[in-house]
Amino acid sequence: MKKTWFIVKRELASYFNSPIAYVFLIIFLLLSGFFTFMMGGFFRSDEASLIRFFVWHPWLYMLLVPAIGMRLWAEERRMGTLELLCTLPLSASQAIMGKFLAGWIFLGIALLLTLPMPMTVCYLGDPDMGPILTGYIGSFLMSGAYLAISGMTSACTRNQVISFITSVVVCLLLVLVGFPPVTNLLLKWGASSNLVDFAAHLSVMFHFESMQRGVLDLRDVVYFVSLIGFALFSTNIVLKQHRS
């Protein structure tokens, strides 16, 4: 546990030692503001809620989280420090967990920096705090799932561009699988309605939407946590395979 924490500290320091952290934070805040106010018509909607803010998050994360995740392992591999990390007395799961947690904490910091948004809403109106809280929890969980997936694709390659594109595509799939164009296609191919239902439930959207509405369902939390667990587990396997 202590060693995991040292990895977290080192990783976080390396984010903030490089321009990556600042560029990411600024772009994240600019884009989330732009989507909420310009594309989402926050003021026109004339309601005191953050639905217009959260609804963009699956798309925003799809572009931005892989930018954080793509470095996780590809960079270690490219610089050769993976060899150092693997020969230090720490287990693979400690290293994987440490690097993941650091990225997730960083994304959490980015999310915390959007707090002026709910403050504004509170100032302008009298919003229901429930959906705002669950929206934040859902958004954080979703960013973790995206990050774990990007980390997994990052472990597959030393090339960060390949890593980025693959994780964007995988995340895109996770978003789209619940949408009518995809579910209709599945139905047309003769999939049973149970299967289509199953596919739709795999979608990030399905689980995030109920959280935006203020419903904190254990099943949604389990979905995100198991997505993270699965991706981290796969990362371990990929890293092992890659060395043999």
Partner: protein, 320 residues
Amino acid sequence: MIKANNLFKWYGSKQVVDDVSFQVAKGEVLGFLGPNGAGKSTTMRMLTGFLPMSSGSVEIGGHVLVDEPLKAKSLFGYLPENAPAYADMTVEGFLEFTASMRDLSGDAKRDAVEKAIVTCHLGSVSKQSIDTLSKGYRHRTCFAQAILHDPPILILDEPTDGLDPNQKHEMRELIKRMGQDKAIIVSTHILEEVEAICTRVIIIDQGKLVFNGTPAEMRAKSAEAGGVTIRVQGVQKPDLTDVLERIPEAGRPIEVKEVDGALVATIPHQSGKSGLAAKIKAELDRRSWAFDELHTNSGRLDDVFRAITSLDVATNQENN
């Protein structure tokens, strides 16, 4: 301290390491030699647990690497090839990080980092970020990381690579000094390094172990070893050749050359017979021929290295 038992490594159908076994005891500096691509780095990576072996086993200080990886890994320091380090960290930060990973904390950690910085002469750059360092400094930073926790075992992949002659000399002295109470493996393809620091040598070629012995034993395998070179003044070439050829201990071919008005003769040693130098001296003295040089050749490592590994290089080229 280190035991490698029948290591094999295949990449697909390509065999990179083929049945390599050796041991290193405390107080030994083992030179790990071989041409480029012979499997040196692969073997070292298997010793350190970075690469899984296809078959075989590694024991570090009595711990089987696959069974107790963390215990085994805490016993050695490792300098990988090309000396990687986290470029965005400062030298001090990087060493503190590895110290924490080695379970050092508080005063012990501070002392260890400080000592490593002094030993590796990193004081002037300790607050600098690693990506601004020259290759020599970067290399020493990674080396500092390996010796930081004073491990009983050191595994060093080309430790003098990228250092200038002074730094090389210093690094060799350091390794030699530490070799007195540690078990050290040093891979290199610089033969003078072997002479300077190693107590034992193994040569690996095309993944196979082709030599395991002391540097002296390796030198003795040279064709020149045991031969005698003399430099004689004021003697005719045919006379000298005649006298030398009649010495029963002298092997063939005897080579006599004229250099700056003197004759320089190289007489190979005939296997199984000793006392060649004394016999030659006696013959020269009997005729009162003045010589200003007479010494027994000890053989050269690079000759042996070439002799042992050249055959395989030739077949390698055929394969390509």
